[in-house]
Amino acid sequence: MLEFIIYKSIICTIIFVVSLGIAAYSTWWERKFAGLLQDRWGPSRAGIWGLLQPLADGGKMLFKEEIIPNVSNKFLFVLAPGLFIVTAIMAGVLIPWGPSVKIGETLYALQVSDINVGVIFLLGVTSIGVYGIMIGGWASNNKYSLLGAIRASAQMISYELAMGIALIALIITAGGTLSFSEIVAAQDKGVANIVWQPLGFIIFFICALAETNRAPFDLAECETELVGGYHTEYSAFKLGLFLFAEYINMFVSSAVMAGFYFGGYNFPFAHELYQAMGLQEGSWLISLIGFGAYFTKTLIFISVFMWIRWTIPRFRYDQLMNLGWKSLLPLSLLNLLITVIVEYFRGNINL
């Protein structure tokens, strides 16, 4: 029992710290990448290549004056950023970062919790995340904040449906399991799910952009129309938490995409490589290589998120709703139908 607690606390701490670190350095990479895409250099003053920029930003956020509007609901106003960041971090517990390590006689999974209904947990936690935005926007007692919050909630509801249906198709392909680690492990022998689910991946990707409130779906923030959207009234560290949570969300959804559709810690010819290196199953080196593969995929997805943000202009609100309800929802249903037919002929479904 003690061993179990120690193992879980170590894994928890590592994943918590890594999530925060990645979120911090995502802000740096966002600015750097944006600069590079726009013929600039991006942050370059704090440390080499501006690598200390996240620390400087964090310090600035910490020491700025904290303003709570006196017309706001103070309890909810303070609660909202906390709720947002907690749910953002919570979704990270599902991700199986690599093949299990064998220490002594026991296998240790590189995952905080292998929930057997992981996909449903993921959908649930990400939809709780929108409460942070809603409560924050409403408690601010500000028209712009409220508009941002309404937009965020409408957007979440619209895109959650298409996302859920795209995931149902994925689960059928993955062999009917709802556990994250089993979905990733199922891609070990065969090919990655993207081969069987190209349309599903595109739908999931667009929905993930919308769920994380990233451009071109950042209508909740929408600085050109709504000042700052739901975080207009927030300042100092609470604003920092909001912005931070957005990057954690992005990190988690990138990891989810890499795991669900691109094989997670598996990569082509992995087994041949391990055999050539003479590694036994459960070796820490296999876990390290697998973790590296998964992490690389995740970082590539984060970069793609940013690349999209600095390319595509923001959708108008009615275009967003049209896309969600009139295009993505029917497409995801079509994708489900195609998946069922394909899987029937592959013999994965028995009638």
């Binding site: 590079l36 895409l37 726009q38 013929d39 600039r40 250099w41 370059s44 690349w307 999209i308 600095w310 390319t311 595509i312």
Partner: protein
């Protein structure tokens, strides 16, 4: 009527299927942004790398001291008259006995202020100065936090005796030749024009 070759005729025709699904356009746009990753950047990393300035770059002013360390300025006010931006204000005073080592002439500027926010760095004060007291140098005027601190008094303008500033950098042979003209060249041309009109 077509005004430029780049103008596009706007029409309300139905979007084609490729346009409706956005994807070709999005991928095209992303390819364009991606290509910018490898483009040359025009950024100059300022304090380490400096842009090349012109030889005759006109920067912050200086009130020169003569070779004995006395102020050359005699507070004649020619610079203030020449200044098109009316940025120069001065107050005169008479030199007392025992101050010969401080001021070269019998009259000197008690206060001398240039408002750096008004100054347009045209260099006319330098051309106007009969005593070769004011020069524009290749130094850049610093940024300040307050508007008041942009008004430079004698404390900032007068050359320090132990820290002489080289003003010969701007005095290229062409400039020196130009300065030799009795009455500056643009005045001369103006005079010629006036004469033509009279005849």
């Amino acid at each position: 009527m077509q005004l430029t070759k780049r103008s596009i005729v706007v029409s309300n025709k139905e979007q084609s299927f490729a346009e409706k699904i956005y994807f070709p356009a999005i991928i095209k746009g992303m390819a364009i942004t991606f290509s910018h990753l490898f483009k040359k950047r025009p950024t100059i990393m300022y304090p380490e790398v400096k842009r090349q300035y012109s030889d005759v770059y006109r920067g912050q002013h200086i009130l020169k001291l003569d070779e004995n360390g006395a102020e050359r300025c005699t507070s004649c006010g020619m610079c203030a008259v020449a200044c098109p931006a009316e940025a120069i204000i001065m107050e005169s005073a008479e030199r007392k006995k025992g101050e010969e080592h401080l001021y070269r002439e019998e009259k000197y500027a008690k206060t001398y202020e240039i408002n750096m926010l008004r100054c347009i760095f045209c260099g006319l004060c330098e051309d106007a100065c009969p005593k070769e007291a004011i020069f524009l140098t290749d130094r850049i005027v610093d940024a300040e936090y307050e508007r008041d601190t942009f008004i430079y008094g004698k404390d900032k303008l007068v050359e320090k005796i132990d820290k002489r500033i080289d003003v010969t950098k701007r005095q290229t042979p062409e400039v020196l030749e130009f300065k030799k003209l009795p009455g500056l060249k643009h005045n001369e041309l103006y005079q010629k024009k006036l004469n033509k009109e009279k005849h």
